[in-house]
Point group: C2
Chain length 260, copies 2
């Protein structure tokens, strides 16, 4: 099946809807419609992906092969219910945190979860983006897998239980790492150094990771060395200058010490 | 002053000594001697950087312009004391965590701290490596700054107090991030997914960082969204499957919620 034979409707106009819509359009899929209650956003996204903007749900057509709900987690269940007029259509969501049962109003349901962090104005390389798919019917799994394969070589079949764990892992490696960078930023700026000074270190930490090793094999620093004197000095400095990070420093240090 | 006019002795034969020795040699400096009590390691490193291997301290010559102590933090003070026979020579260490006063046996002392994580067999791009220098005499600061400038465009004058804070920041962004990757590795493998599935997300998290913004500007995830339902589900799953990470998840989530 060629990509231009597959018709897609996108529900939503946020970061995921935008990045995914553009990538699907560029891969040759026909984006039939974009739905958003916000007329301006619907029109803006629809224009760049050559789709029909829709602002009232009941005006959605029945011509798409897949309806992708790229909306916030807590809106998925309600939206799925409101789309029950779609007749035997495949309805999927893009959420890592939401079980597929949120779509139970639909006999044909699935998940199309891009495992990535999307921000406005930050480009995403889809060639390097894993897409986790699942569906309750075998034919639909095949279709979603085919669609994903036009976007990325990294297509994974991931069930609800796996996706729930994967989402937790993503929070640790993405959300929490990013917050550690923020702490680094605060500490350097507090001592009149530019945050830039830490960037090569941050980049090298990631470059070291390799599928042949576990990250723990590259663990460096006072905790893994058991360097109590340095840890004590750090804790004293943190307590004085950045007391809100004392607990985090201690918790991480204890975990690394035990892991060793 | 050309690099080949500057003579350097390296004390140590570990990761920092090796990476730094090679970089200095390649930049055209004359590495006079390499000292290590381990004769095999001294010989190995000396051979690749065209230096004289030395295994007994008192055999060190007086011909170098700089003596670089690239040894473990807790050995620096003692080594500096043992090198007091060096007559009015500039002695520096490469440690982020050690105050320059550890070198007080020497009238001319300084710091040459490469802000990077060094592992055996992992190449380091010196063009992208900040070197933090300091010395108690102005002429020596100039000399260290000149040496560093042959290795990298990223040379920073960083005093003891700043370096102490910088080292704490480095622990957060490097050591702790790496451990978060380890947690991601454990969680994915526990659910029969390859750790590879997280790599694009990890890489994108770093790519987003830009000197125009603070990392907090790119913070995503349930904590920054105030998505209590997802946080609750995550904590339940972590408590069941990975209880040792409950405290860390809570601590990070609380920090991010407050930062918002």
């Amino acid at each position: 099946m060629e990509s231009h034979e597959i018709h897609i409707t996108i529900i939503g106009s946020g970061n995921v809807a935008t990045h995914l819509g553009l990538a699907l359009m560029e891969a040759g899929f026909i984006i039939e419609e974009v739905f958003s209650r916000n007329a301006k956003k619907a029109a803006e996204l629809a224009e760049v992906i050559y789709a029909q903007p829709i602002t009232e749900l009941h005006k959605l057509g029945q011509d798409s092969d897949v309806y992708i709900l790229a909306i916030s987690d807590d809106a998925i269940g309600l939206m799925a219910d409101n789309l029950s007029f779609l007749d035997n259509k495949l309805v999927v969501h893009t959420s890592g945190a939401t079980p597929s049962t949120a779509l139970q109003a639909h006999k044909r349901r699935g998940v199309f979860y891009p495992l990535q962090t999307f921000s406005e104005d930050v480009e995403v390389d889809f060639e390097q983006l894993p897409i986790c798919i699942d569906a309750n019917k075998k034919e639909d799994r095949k279709l979603l897998s085919l669609i994903a394969s036009y976007l990325t070589p990294l297509v994974y079949k991931v069930n609800d239980e796996q996706r729930a764990q994967l989402h937790v892992a993503a929070v640790f490696v993405n959300n929490f790492s990013n917050y550690l960078y923020q702490i680094g930023c605060e500490i350097t700026e507090a001592t009149d150094l530019p945050f830039d000074i830490l960037l090569p270190l941050i980049q090298q930490t990631v470059k070291k990771i390799d599928s042949d090793y576990q990250p723990i094999d590259f663990q460096t620093g006072p905790a893994v060395r058991g360097d109590k004197a340095t840890i004590k000095r750090h804790l004293k400095l943190i307590k004085q200058e950045f007391p809100k990070y004392s607990k985090l420093y201690k918790t991480m240090t204890e975990l690394i010490e035990v892991a060793e």
